[in-house]
């Protein structure tokens, strides 16, 4: 594997604000012969709200998978808070403050809503393998209950996740992602399949996040994307084709071409 490694700034206390929270450098991902990412460079500053747009198959989810560690890039590097984590397994990323949701909701179908969120907390607070229940667990469970209520699932605490409606599963996923107070929150099409009311919920919830939280948002719904994001990146065919403030990107003829072109074809 040939990776053109560029030196990354070391993580030092006190430089936190200066180093971008997420640094993606020359990342390429090949699936067999298919190049899903053709060399992505992306810096995300702390507290940024970034929307990633682009037609289906553009490579948005793949980029998320690389940042979250579910996929190791074919070449290039990824750093979170200045720490090179290109080859760090995904289970180590929560410690860096990274949390994500998946495009197709991935919840634990056989477990209750509260238990789903509890597991997110247990993973974060290093209680993964504790074979008994203690006061700490009761606190985590209480916390899970509060998170469940905050994503409007208070009436479904004991419902198995498998029995939730589609929109409720997305809310649960969001709860699992925000439960641990992540520094970097990555949401893969959180609004897809949601009703209008649920979309309002979602935007409200994202608005309520602390200023310091960095949010990366893949979204097809321009309305949601432009309301949440201060910066927009447009991807197509594994490349970033446009970036900038929402108004700027909205006016970009290249973006129009991609969207209208792809709609025209399909």
């Amino acid at each position: 594997m040939t990776s053109k490694r560029r030196p990354l700034p070391a993580a030092e206390p006190g430089t936190a604000g200066l180093v971008p929270v997420v640094q993606v450098r020359a990342v390429k991902v090949a699936f067999g012969g298919l190049l899903a990412l053709r060399g992505i460079d992306l810096d995300v500053e702390q507290g940024e709200r970034l929307a990633i747009l682009g037609p289906n198959g553009a490579g948005k989810t793949t980029l998320f998978n690389v940042i979250a560690g579910d996929i190791t890039p074919t070449s290039g590097t990824v750093a979170v808070k200045g720490v090179d984590c290109t080859r760090l397994p995904s289970r180590r990323r929560p410690r860096l403050g990274v949390a994500r949701t998946y495009q197709k909701a991935r919840t634990f179908e056989g477990l209750s809503v509260t238990d789903n969120v509890y597991l997110a907390l247990a993973g974060h607070y290093r209680r993964q393998r504790v074979p008994w229940r203690s006061a700490v667990d009761r606190r985590l469970r209480d916390e899970a209950g509060r998170v469940v209520a905050s994503v409007w699932l208070g009436d479904h605490r004991d419902t198995p996740a498998g029995a939730l409606a589609h929109g409720q599963k997305r809310q649960l996923e969001l709860g699992m992602a925000i439960a641990t107070d992540p520094d970097v929150l990555m949401l893969d099409e959180p609004a897809s399949g949601l009703s209008r009311g649920e979309r309002e919920h979602l935007v409200e919830l994202l608005d309520a996040l602390a200023e310091s939280v960095t949010v990366l948002l893949i979204e097809h719904d321009m309305d949601v994307a432009f309301r949440v994001a201060r910066r927009v990146v447009v991807m197509a065919d594994g490349e970033i084709v446009a970036a900038g403030a929402p108004e700027q990107v909205r006016a970009d003829p290249k973006v129009h071409e991609i969207y209208l072109g792809s709609e025209g074809r399909s």
Binding site: A68, G69, D70, P89, S90, R91, R92, R93, P94, R95, R100, Y102, R106, T107, F108, E109, G110, L111, D115, N116, Y118, L119, A120, A122, G123, H124, R126, R127, Q128, R129, V130, P131, W132, R133, D137, D158, P160, G162, A163, M176
Partner: protein
């Protein structure tokens, strides 16, 4: 928390059952205690480890009877003073117990670690390979067993058959049952269930999936080893044929007819199997209708088939369905390729 009443009722039913089982030796003949109940309890203990791994972890293991056997062989080797086969270490019986459990647990850890990255059918196949290899190890290495096994193994004096040994098996079974159930509500147990549903998601939440699966398998092996100790105390001997493919499959059958998503099913299935194999051959006229010794397995097979057709959830599933008939949620249609996993998932939804 959940509404208290079903939990309370379940606890009361269990307490009542334990009281009955404790009183049993003074009511029924020693033969029943020794041959039916003690065997039921030790096979149930081993089958419960299959249920534990399948229900919580989605791992269907065929290696549990091997680990059951490893504990027995190790105890025999350590406890026996003299004999034509085995190591004849002549240790104190309790030292032999500690040794047997240590070796079984270590073996389970290694085997579990090797299998920890596989799932589904591959897990089943890999653990089947363990069982086959284990059989040949004990059959061919004469230093620790050889084909005719180890005989005249003494049990610790405290555990005299039938009653003390029965109580030992009962105590271990109750502990395993309560322990497995309690574990399901802890971080470890919930995480194991999360890995059954979506291992990738669990990893992204910060869990080490292979290590977790390995530890679960190790615990299962330890408990199967406890069952194996009761077996060797009860039998006084152990040979490789007793842990071969036949018995391995029988243990799986026990778990399945009991209901692989219910812990109580393990002992229920064991009871049905042991009762059938003890009494069916003695029924009057049974040979007249053509059921000879050689055809006995066919009869058991037919009964297993019948139970499976009547209830894919096994006997415990039937009991469960009767209990909650009025409010039972509609079950999603079956028919996917991984039927077992779907069944486990379904059971999970309607359990508790």
């Amino acid at each position: 928390m959940r509404s208290g009443s079903p939990v309370y009722r379940r606890g009361a039913a269990l307490a009542l059952l334990v009281v009955v089982l404790i009183a049993l030796p003074s009511v029924v003949p020693a033969f029943f205690i020794n041959f039916v109940m003690t065997q039921t309890l030790m096979l149930g203990l081993a089958a419960a480890t299959i249920v534990f791994l399948a229900k919580y972890g989605g791992m269907v293991s065929l290696a549990q009877f091997l680990l059951f056997g490893v504990a027995g062989f190790m105890y025999g080797n350590a406890a026996l003073e003299a004999g034509s086969r085995g190591l004849n270490l002549g240790w104190h019986p309790w030292a032999a117990v500690a040794f047997a459990l240590a070796v079984t647990t270590a073996a389970a850890f290694l085997l579990g670690a090797l299998a920890s990255r596989t799932t589904g059918l591959y897990y089943l196949m890999l653990t089947l390979v363990y069982a086959v290899i284990g059989y040949f190890v004990f059959a061919q290495i004469t230093e620790i067993s050889g084909p005719s096994g180890i005989t005249s193994i003494k049990r610790p004096e405290l555990l005299a058959a039938p009653v003390s040994l029965y109580y030992t098996a009962l105590g271990l079974s109750v502990l395993a049952y309560l322990g497995f159930r309690a574990l399901g509500r802890t971080a470890f147990g919930l995480a194991l269930q999360g890995m059954r549903d979506d291992p990738v998601r669990m990893a992204s939440l910060g869990f080490n999936v292979p290590l977790h699966r390995t530890l679960a398998f190790t615990l299962g092996g330890f408990v199967a080893g406890l069952g194996g100790l009761v077996n060797v105390w009860w039998n006084g001997q152990i040979d490789p044929a007793s842990i071969g493919i036949g018995p391995t499959l029988i243990l799986l059958i026990i778990a399945v007819i009991g209901g692989v998503s219910y812990f109580e099913g393990a002992w229920l299935g064991a009871f049905v199997y042991v009762a059938m194999s003890t009494y069916l051959r003695d029924l009057p006229l049974i040979d007249r209708i053509g059921i000879t010794e050689a055809r006995f397995n066919t009869v058991i097979g037919a009964i297993v088939l019948l139970i499976m057709v009547l209830s894919p959830q096994g006997l415990a599933g039937i009991a469960d369905r009767l209990r909650r008939r009025p409010t039972r949620p509609r079950r999603p249609a079956a028919g996917s390729a991984d039927e077992t996993e779907a069944a486990i998932r379904r059971a999970q939804l309607i359990d508790e």
